[in-house]
């Protein structure tokens, strides 16, 4: 080793906190999270909780397959319940990841680099959780599993391409695949870093295997950046399309409260809203536990809060337009639906939704709340709950009283509705904590680029 190597080169920097001054320190800090002898208690506790919750799914799903969807609270008017609510909820959460990594990349928002990796991971795990519900909620999953795919079969039967559920199948699978690939491509150079820092053989082999032998050649980097840019360009319309398609499940139906053209935009806005809330829900504690203050600075909290505030206002606009259009349409169905949402048996749910998704987020107008991690975290919890309620309102209150009053009925969820939902939260948690334990939770090579800036000769 030469002398020079011992005193690392220090360029000026503005995206990072004062602590991060050199390539070395960045790499040490982030890989340190994985290559450490003592994993923080926090990790074990969270993982344990996640594993505990997971049992909801591990017990609930087999029982569901054995007994049938009747173990849920579904009934004749209300054919869709928590399963679909959770599906939409998870998909929505997933969107933030793609959004941060793709859209912000296109907009050259450099601050994204310190959160995009974790956000993308969140996307994938959220979509994995979401993907379970469309299958589990069918009456005969063992058939739905393959009958929903168009393939030449001995029945000469095909799927019905007019059904939004088929669009879902295509949208969700495409989304999952593309996100996975995008995520992995981003990981390759960092796996290389891990490979080269790993001490024990197994780690070396595993990370070496995952890094595909990446060696940071200039030619590789050139093509790599190009590909990342293209992927970002493709993911952006994709992410918008996915939640639009999900919203079609309702918008193409004729049920009052479903049959509305405003759904695609406000579902997407809602997804961003929910997604950022979930990113903060995860990053704020991690930031504290792993001392990532230099990577996730107040600037990040500030920016994300602003995004939430903005998307939250779009959502609020959506709610408002629903009311306006219902009255403006003069359709007795729509008008009753709106009356019933606000004053019907589920009225309290509706107002809780307004509180969580519209009232509370207004605090984000104040810099204090935007920058204060604890406050911010609790506001995010309101949003997480609120977004779930939004889907509950859309699915249940629209269905339980539609056209013929004779068929009106109430929806009563059961423990199994809850168990399976909680189970997916558990799944999400353990997947995420496994990720931060074994993978670089912040994109190292992208952070390095931050250092370099401002120093071009």
């Amino acid at each position: 080793m030469s002398e020079a190597a011992k005193t690392p080169y220090k360029p000026p920097v503005n995206e990072l906190g004062p602590g991060q001054t050199s390539y070395t320190s960045i790499t040490d800090k982030i890989s340190g999270v994985v290559f450490t002898k003592h994993t923080p208690i926090f990790w074990f506790v969270s993982f344990a909780i996640g594993f505990l919750l997971l049992h909801g799914l591990m017990i609930g799903a087999p029982y569901l397959l054995y007994e049938g969807t009747g173990i849920w609270g579904l009934n004749n008017p209300v054919g869709w319940g928590w399963a679909i609510i959770n599906f939409v909820w998870w998909i929505g959460i997933g969107h933030a990841g793609t959004l941060i990594s793709a859209v912000l990349l296109l907009f050259r928002q450099k601050w994204r680099t310190s959160i995009n990796r974790a956000a993308e991971a969140m996307t994938i795990f959220a979509v994995l959780c979401a993907a379970q519900f469309p299958l589990l909620h069918t009456g005969r999953p063992w058939l739905a599993a393959y009958w929903l795919l168009p393939y030449p079969n001995s029945m000469a039967m095909w799927v019905n391409f007019r059904s939004p559920l088929i669009w879902d199948v295509f949208a969700v699978t495409t989304y999952l695949t593309v996100s996975l690939v995008f995520w992995y491509v981003g990981l390759v150079p960092d796996f290389a870093s891990f490979r080269d820092r790993a001490k024990n053989r197994i780690a070396q082999v595993v990370y070496g295997f995952l890094s595909l032998g990446w060696r940071g050649s200039a030619f590789h980097w050139e093509r790599y950046e190009l590909a990342s840019l293209i992927l970002a360009g493709l993911s952006t319309p994709l992410v918008l399309s996915v939640h639009s398609v999900v919203s079609f499940d309702f918008a193409t139906g004729i049920i009052p409260g479903w049959h509305t053209t405003i759904f695609p935009p406000y579902f997407v806005a809602g997804a961003i809203f929910a997604g950022f809330a979930m990113v903060l829900t995860l990053m704020i504690p991690l930031r504290r536990v792993y001392g990532l203050y230099d990577f996730i600075t107040e600037r990040h909290l500030n920016n994300m809060s602003k995004v939430m505030l903005a998307s939250g206002l779009i959502v609020a606009y959506g709610y408002f337009m629903e009311i306006v259009i219902a009255q403006y349409s003069g359709s007795i169905w729509e008008m009753y639906m709106m009356r019933n949402r606000m004053g019907g048996p589920y009225g309290n749910y509706y107002w809780a939704l307004i509180l969580c998704n519209i009232a509370v987020p207004q605090l984000l107008w104040f810099r204090h709340f935007r920058l204060h991690p604890v406050w911010l975290w609790f506001i995010c919890q309101f949003i997480n709950v609120g977004m779930w309620l939004e889907r509950f309102i859309i699915v249940v209150t629209s269905l339980h009283r539609d056209y013929l009053p004779s068929s009106w009925d109430m929806f009563h969820p059961t423990i199994w509705d809850a168990a399976i939902y909680i189970g997916t939260i558990g799944l999400f948690t353990i997947l995420f904590f496994l990720f931060i334990r074994g993978f670089p939770m912040i994109s190292i090579h992208e952070i390095r680029t931050l250092l370099k800036t401002g120093n071009h000769k």
Binding site: W158, F161, T177, S193, G213, A218, L234, L238
Partner: protein
């Protein structure tokens, strides 16, 4: 790496501790007439590849074509199934319900092009390639964290072990080492 037999060396490698020095060195080396070069860095360095003779890839075109193919494939699947193979009266809608076929078409388009972009890049980079001579260099482990390398490969016509080594030393790197095969 089919030259192994001929030369015991893959090339000669110079080590730098920052991207700017590397880019400068790379430019100089290219100017000196070396062509079989490669440079290694822990982060994408702008202008580096161009400095050592990078040729534009046709990847974007490939992606576009595959995307187009995806679009055609998606729509024609819908059309063939719903209009030709087993037309059904579904809710009184026409057999050719164009608007309903758009979402599928769109998703397939994205899928095809995205896959092309990702795997095209890997293939173009010749990955996976777990073994490479440069890994033999002692400090190269830090090429993925904080060191920058410039390598003149033995395949270069101008390559001569001592000559080239001397040339690289002239670019005041932190260190110059021989890359065994």
């Amino acid at each position: 790496m089919h030259h192994e037999e001929e030369s015991p060396y893959h090339g000669v490698m110079a080590q730098f501790d920052n991207p700017d020095d590397l880019v400068a060195a790379a430019k100089a080396t290219y100017a000196a007439g070396y062509r079989k070069l490669d440079a290694y860095s822990p982060l994408p360095v702008h202008g580096l590849a161009d400095a050592i003779g990078y040729k534009r890839t046709r990847l974007p075109w490939l992606v576009f074509c595959m995307g187009l193919l995806g679009a055609i494939a998606g729509y024609s699947l819908c059309y063939w199934v719903s209009v030709i193979d087993y037309p059904m009266n579904i809710g009184g809608r026409p057999f050719h319900s164009g608007p309903s076929f758009i979402p599928v078409t769109f998703e397939v388009t994205i899928l095809f092009s995205a896959m092309t972009a990702a795997f095209g890049m890997l293939i173009a980079n010749g990955l996976p390639q777990p073994y490479h001579p440069v890994f033999n260099v002692e400090n190269f482990a830090r090429a993925s964290s904080d060191l920058f390398f410039l390598c003149i490969e033995a395949e270069d016509e101008k390559f001569d072990l001592d000559e080239t080594t001397r040339f690289l030393q002239s670019l005041n790197p932190q260190e110059v080492s021989h890359v065994e095969n």
